[in-house]
Symmetry: D2
Subunit: 306 residues, 4 copies
Amino acid sequence: MAEDMFQWHWFIEWGTPNSAHMYGIEKILYHGRSKYQDIMVAIVKDLGKALILDGKTQSAIVDEFVYHESLVHPAMILHGKPEKVLILGGGEGATAREVLRFKSVKRVVMVDIDEEVVKVSKEYLPEWHRGAFDDPRFELIIMDGLKYVEEANEKFDVIIADLADPLEAGPAYKLYTKEYYEKLKKLLNPGGVFVTQATSPTITTFTHAVIFNTIKSVFKYASIYHVYVRSFDGVWGFVIASDTKDPRSLTPEVIDKYLAENVEGENRFYEGIIHLSMFAVPKYLRKAIESIKDIATLEKPVFMPA
Amino acid sequence: MAEDMFQWHWFIEWGTPNSAHMYGIEKILYHGRSKYQDIMVAIVKDLGKALILDGKTQSAIVDEFVYHESLVHPAMILHGKPEKVLILGGGEGATAREVLRFKSVKRVVMVDIDEEVVKVSKEYLPEWHRGAFDDPRFELIIMDGLKYVEEANEKFDVIIADLADPLEAGPAYKLYTKEYYEKLKKLLNPGGVFVTQATSPTITTFTHAVIFNTIKSVFKYASIYHVYVRSFDGVWGFVIASDTKDPRSLTPEVIDKYLAENVEGENRFYEGIIHLSMFAVPKYLRKAIESIKDIATLEKPVFMPA
Amino acid sequence: MAEDMFQWHWFIEWGTPNSAHMYGIEKILYHGRSKYQDIMVAIVKDLGKALILDGKTQSAIVDEFVYHESLVHPAMILHGKPEKVLILGGGEGATAREVLRFKSVKRVVMVDIDEEVVKVSKEYLPEWHRGAFDDPRFELIIMDGLKYVEEANEKFDVIIADLADPLEAGPAYKLYTKEYYEKLKKLLNPGGVFVTQATSPTITTFTHAVIFNTIKSVFKYASIYHVYVRSFDGVWGFVIASDTKDPRSLTPEVIDKYLAENVEGENRFYEGIIHLSMFAVPKYLRKAIESIKDIATLEKPVFMPA
Amino acid sequence: MAEDMFQWHWFIEWGTPNSAHMYGIEKILYHGRSKYQDIMVAIVKDLGKALILDGKTQSAIVDEFVYHESLVHPAMILHGKPEKVLILGGGEGATAREVLRFKSVKRVVMVDIDEEVVKVSKEYLPEWHRGAFDDPRFELIIMDGLKYVEEANEKFDVIIADLADPLEAGPAYKLYTKEYYEKLKKLLNPGGVFVTQATSPTITTFTHAVIFNTIKSVFKYASIYHVYVRSFDGVWGFVIASDTKDPRSLTPEVIDKYLAENVEGENRFYEGIIHLSMFAVPKYLRKAIESIKDIATLEKPVFMPA
C-alpha cells in the first residue's frame, strides 16, 4: 500500500462514547501540557489550523470567524454603545479581536486561567488574535474567573463568557451556576448585556437547556441562539441576556446599519439576516429545551453528560 | 477489558478521505445488495434507525423530518395549489408522505430505479412512509429517472428530485445536467416548481454551486437554501426553481397560514421563521458559491469530489 | 468520493483502551444475542468468516486451524492413547473436530453453557465442525462448566478448556481458579492430561502468568506454550499439565510419527518442529512471567485487565 | 464525557486498505519531513517510544531488540568470525549496536540514504543506538544504497539489509531485485553471509516469497525465517543467504556457546532454542510460499501490494 494513500495520523473528537468525528492531522505545530490541560495546535485536514484543548477543538481557521462573530456581535450591538467589555476565557484572542473592532470600545479586560494557552495562542495563532493582545485598550489578567468575579471592583457594559464546557472533572462547571451568574450581573453597568457559549443544543440538549434556564432565572430577558459551526461538528448554542434589552427586538436593518457605521472592517458571517436565522430555533428543539425545567446551582450543578 | 465498555461495531461515514464520522452500530436490521447498491437498515447509536446506501446515510429517524420537510414544503407552498406531484428517487417513502399531507394533492408519481430499496423501506421503515405507499393517490414506477423523463406524457405542478449524489462511478450524475433539467422543465405545468437536494454546501461547495448554476441557467428563478441535518454531519443544500415564482417572496406569515389551512398534521421543523433562516446563506458561503461559474452538461458533467 | 473506495463498515477489536485492531466487515451472516452474550458471524476482510462473541474474535477461517490444532494436538499426543475426552466450551465444534481425528478416541463430551452459540455454529460454521456434532462418539451437554465439574461421575483421559477469558464482568473467571483446577483434576484418569487456552502472553502477561502459576500449583508438570494467531492479533498462550508426563519430553520425531499413524487426515499447522517452537518462549517473556508469583483462587481470582 | 476517558490522538497503521492497527499517541517527541519521508518519533501507548517513517512503525522500544537481534545475530553467528560488516539502511543505529557487540568485529559501514533519520535517531533514540554512532569501528555513509554498491571497493564478511519495504512509490524496490543481489554478492568476502528483512509472510505473502526466490536464485544457500514482532502487528520475515554455509546447520548448543563466548552483554530474545523456532515456518505458510515461483528483476520488480 502506497504510504501516501492512507491517512495514518488522526485526531478523533468524541461527541459521545458511541460517536466521534475523525480528522487526519497534517502537522502538529505545538503540543504540550499546562497546569490545567493538554494543549495542541495542529494543521487538521479539512479544518486547517486548529487549537485543541484536552482533545476538544476550540476553534479552527476554517470557521473560527463564524463562532467568534456569533459570540461577540449580537451582545455588542444589543448594547448599542459598549465602552468597557469583560471577556471570561477567550485564550485564543479572537474574541478580543472582534470586541476591539467596535469603535466605541475603550477598555477590554480578558480573564483567562491558563497562561500557557495565551502564550501558545500569541505565538501560533496570529490569524486569530491579529494583534489584539497588543492593543492599548486591552488588558490580560491571568486568574480563575471565579476569583476574578469575587474581587473585581470594575463594571462593564458587556460581559462575554467564552469558557470551557462544564465538565464534571474540571472546575469550569461552577461558572455555569445561578450563584455565579448573579455575581456576574453585579459587574454589569445599567443597560449591560451578558452572553455565553452554551454547548451543543442537539448533542447535549439537557446541559444547553439548563444553562439557558439558569440565566433566565437571573436576567429579565434571556434568549437562546444557534449557529452551525462545522469544526464543532454541529450546531452550537449561545445564551444572551440583559435586564433592559430584548435581543429579539433587533431587526436586520438596524444590525446592518450598525455594522456599517460602528464596526471596523467587514464581517464574514454575522449580518442582519443571519441574526434572524440564529434566533430561529427549530420547533422540535424548542420543545425539547422547553421540556427541561432544571436550574444549575452550586449545590446541584449541571455537567456535560459522561 | 470489560466487553461492554468499548463499542466494537462501527459505521464510519467518510466525508473526505481525511475526515469521517464514526457511529456505533447497535443492531443491523437488514443488510443486502440490490442490482444498484449496498442497502443497510441499522440502529445507529445517537441517530437511531437509519437507511444507509453504499455507506452513506440517506436518513435517520432522529431527523429525517428535518430533511424531508425541508425538501418538500417550500416547493409545495411556493406553488400554492399543487395537485400533481412527481418524485424522482425518494425510496424511503418519506418524501411521498410529506407530499400527501398537502390537501390539494390528487396524484403523486414516484419514480425510483431500485425496487429493492422500496421493498426494504416498506418493511423496515414504517416510521418513514407511514402508509404513503398505500395511499390511493400514490403511484410507484420502478424505472430509471432518465428514461422516465424521456417517455413521460404527463405533466406535474411540482417535481421533487430526491436523488443520490452525482458520483462519478454511478449513473446519477446525468440527472444533474442542463440537458436533464430542460427535459424536466417540459414536464411542469405552467406555474410549476422544481426542487432538488444539492449536496453539502460546505464539504462539496463546487458540486453544490454547479448544481445551482445549472438550474439557474434553465429556470427564471432559482434559489439555494441550506438546512443543518445532523445525520448528514452538517449543513445540507437544496435548489428550488420556477419560471414564475420567486421563493424569496414567501413571508413567514404566509407560510404559517398556509401550513395551518392546507396541510394535514403538524410540522416538527419547517415553519415561517425557519423558511427565512434556510434562505439566509452566510456571506462567506455565498461568496464561495458565487465565485464558481461552471454549469454541468452531459459533455462536461459535475461529480462529487473523489 | 466513490463509495467503493473507502471501507465504511468496521469491526474494531480492542486490545486495551488505547489500542485496537480495525477490520472491514464484508458481510454479516448472523447477529443476535443469547442469554449470555452478543453473537456475530461475519465475513471479516483479511480474516474471512469469523465468529465474534461480545466483540472478541473467537476464531476466523484464515487460521482457526492454527488455534485448534495447537490447543488439541499436544495434549492428545502427550497422553498417547486418549479414549475419552472432555471439552469445556468449544462451541464452534472445531475443538471436537480435532479431537475426533484421533483414532483412539471413543467418546467426546463437550460442555458449553451457551446453546445459542452451538446452534449458530452448526448452521453458519460448517467449515469449523465438519460434522463433528453428528459423530456418534460425540455428546453435547448444555451446562455451566462449573456445575458440570461438580456433578460429573465420569473420568477422562484428556480435558481441554476452550473457554472465554476470565473477564471481571462474567462468570468465566471461576473456571481459572485453583479450586476449579483441583476439581477438574479429579475427573482425569491416571495418566490424564489437561490443557487450556491462557490469554495473550504479551498483552495480558499478568493474567497469563497467573493461570500458569495456578495450574502449576495443582499438577506435577505444567508448561506454557505460545503460538502466533493472526486473527487474535498476536501470540496466544496455552498451559498444558499432567501429573505423569512432561510435554517437554516429546521430540519432533515422536510427534511426526504419531501424527502419521494415529490421526486421520493431515495437519496444516502442528507438527514436530512446530511443537519445539511453541515451547520456545522468548527469554524476556519467560522472565516477565517468572517474576509474577500470584495464584488465582475463588477468594482472590485473576481477571483480564480493565 | 470526561476528557480523560477517551483517547483522541491516534496513530492508525494500515496493513491493508481493510485492516489497520490503531494506537493511542501519548506524546510526539519529533515530527518532520526529510527529502525522502515523513519522520515521527512518538510515545505510542502500549508500544512505548517508536520511530515511525511514512506512517509505518520502524521499531518500538517494547520489542526493538526482538527485531534487531533477529536480523543481526543469525548471520553473524553463521559466519563465525565476522570482522567487516556492511549495513544497508538501519538509521536508528540499533542494527549497528547489535553488530558492534560481536567481539570479532573491526569495522562497520552503515549506508543510509536519509541523513535526517540518522540525526533524529541520534537525538531521540539513545536507547536504540547506545553510542553505536560514536564507536571508533563505525563509519556512516549518507548515500543511496544503489549507488554505494556500484562504487564500493571494499569487501565484507556480513551484509545486512535493514531497508524500507519495496513500495511502488519509492526507489527502494530496486534494492530487492536479482541484479542488486548479484552486485551485493560481489562485495562479500569468501564465506560471507547476507541477510535482509523480507516483509510480512502472512500479510504480504507474495512479496515475501518473491524476495526469497530472488535471493535463492543468486546464492547457493538461502533460508526464510520468521519472528513475531508485536510492534509490526504480526510475524515478520527474513531471508539469510550464503554460498558456503547453511543456516539450518546451526544447533542450539553451538549458538548458545557462541553467544556466551563471542558477544558482549546478554541477549533478551535470540538464543539457540529461538533460532530453531524462527526457522520452523508453519506448513501452510511453507506451502503458500512454495507455490509462488516469481523472481524480482529490474524489468519485473516486486512491490508491496497496493
